[in-house]
Symmetry: C2
Subunit: 134 residues, 2 copies
Amino acid sequence: MATGGTAERRAGARSAYLMSMAACPTHRVLDRLGDRWVSLILKELADGPRRHGELSRTVAGVTQKMLTQTLRGLERDGLVARSATGSVPPRVEYRLTPLGESLLPVMAAVTAWAERHIGDIDAARTTYDSSTSP
Amino acid sequence: MATGGTAERRAGARSAYLMSMAACPTHRVLDRLGDRWVSLILKELADGPRRHGELSRTVAGVTQKMLTQTLRGLERDGLVARSATGSVPPRVEYRLTPLGESLLPVMAAVTAWAERHIGDIDAARTTYDSSTSP
DNA sequence: CTGAATCCTCTAAGATACTG
DNA sequence: CAGTATCTTAGAGGATTCAG
């Protein structure tokens, strides 16, 4: 009966958001960087090429699925290069591309800010929480 | 009723992740910045104080719930200050704290990188997608 | 106007098992 | 070792409604 208005409005709101995303490079980059495992993986790769298994062990708590998925995403964006040699046993290495390396200074800026101000944030949280709940 | 092994293992993996998070300031900050609406809201507030309704209209596609929720989070972290005046009608303004303002240069660094390299990313995606699907 | 509470949906992410 | 496919679930996010 009539038009399924709900679904349409949903789709509308969704696309409105997605379009505003697509138009904003900063947001797209932050979205990628904000992905749970990206920063940890980039940090690892910053020190040099790593094998799949190495990352799997080094990056605390990542599942094999998320590792592959995240690496694929980074590869797709041209930030990470994947090089497979031989077929059995497989030996796959991941490393930063020049584009990926150009991102390191930005990460460093974030890290610097984070380490300098994380205390302020924690302090603010404590204050906020204690003035809210009690 | 015995040990619910499944739930425990789930909780274990989860806490392993959460603990590694808590230990890494960079990751915590990126997690916050990566939140869907944070960068858009900070961008707005960078230009000066804004009322709730203003943000609701300006930030494309945000729902009232997410706006409030995001602002609460930023307030809790001490990045944004909330000032309410009067009671009826309510007039609430949000603005960056000094801590929040100190974050702007970092955001600027991200923006600069993003705008310079977003083309590379899109190009890489096109290449990747065309070499994968066909 | 600001914002809290409710409900509902859909996706992201973990566990698991299977190929090459 | 590297990667894929499938199932399930917790939670994020959106619509809606109520309150001060």
